[in-house]
């Protein structure tokens, strides 16, 4: 089981799901209408490390974070 958390302005509680890779997460989240406007602009971190590869393997207990567009300062 991995945990998906949604950061910043995405008003959504974290969810838990079974996933072996980020590809599995992508498939699950693609069915979530609430995320439709966010998914294409979000960067992704696994256990607080930014990732760029959908084949990234996930282990039970991992945390996947979605980071929407930023604007500090």
């Amino acid at each position: 089981m991995v945990t998906i958390e949604f950061l910043g302005p995405i008003q959504k509680d974290k969810i838990n799901l079974e996933a072996q890779t980020l590809q599995d997460v992508a498939e699950h989240l693609s069915q979530d209408a609430e995320l439709k406007t966010w998914i294409d602009t979000c960067a992704v971190a696994v256990n607080d490390v930014m990732v760029m590869d959908l084949t990234t393997k996930l282990n039970s207990g991992d945390k996947v974070s979605l980071l929407p567009p930023v604007c500090g300062g």
Partner: protein
């Protein structure tokens, strides 16, 4: 040094403290950048969310990069609400000679804008509104949407 404040960054105290910390360090240049909330578009202020674990690792990478150039970086940022004419951000570079600091402050602030996990909201008419149009997608964004293209 990365410092986060609930509300406005205390500019005078922070700059004085940083100056004091390094006045005997033999740096020839100290270049701060201060971000202040302007009165525009009817806002009452701005508000910020920060995701600290990734902000810390982003900042640590810059500390290392600065060190390799013989410089040091300091940064302060606000959490929560910051009202008009208050400041939400200070970044500073100290270096032996001015050129490194001048170039690094530019590169650092631009990368901060593009990569630091901080989200900005306008405070307007009693609401907290995500500043979507002024926000930048982080490098690599859209990864989870690729399959659906």
């Amino acid at each position: 040094m990365l410092e986060l404040f609930d509300g406005a960054v205390p500019v005078e105290q922070t700059l004085a403290k940083w100056y004091k910390e390094e006045e005997q360090s033999n740096y020839g240049a100290f270049i701060p950048f201060i971000g202040t909330i302007r009165d525009e578009d009817g806002i009452e202020g701005l508000s910020f969310d920060i995701y600290e674990p990734i902000l810390n690792s982003w900042y640590d990478a810059w500390v290392l990069k600065a060190k390799q150039a013989g410089a040091i970086i300091k940064m302060a940022h606000s959490r929560g609400d910051v009202m008009l004419h208050e400041s939400s951000y200070i970044a500073a570079v100290f270096s032996p000679k001015r050129r490194v600091a001048l170039e690094m402050i530019d590169e650092f602030v631009e990368d901060f804008k593009a990569s630091a996990p901080i989200w900005k909201y306008d405070l307007k008419d009693g609401k907290r509104l995500y500043a979507k149009d002024r926000s930048t997608a982080i490098k690599g964004a859209g990864l989870l949407g690729v399959k659906n293209d």
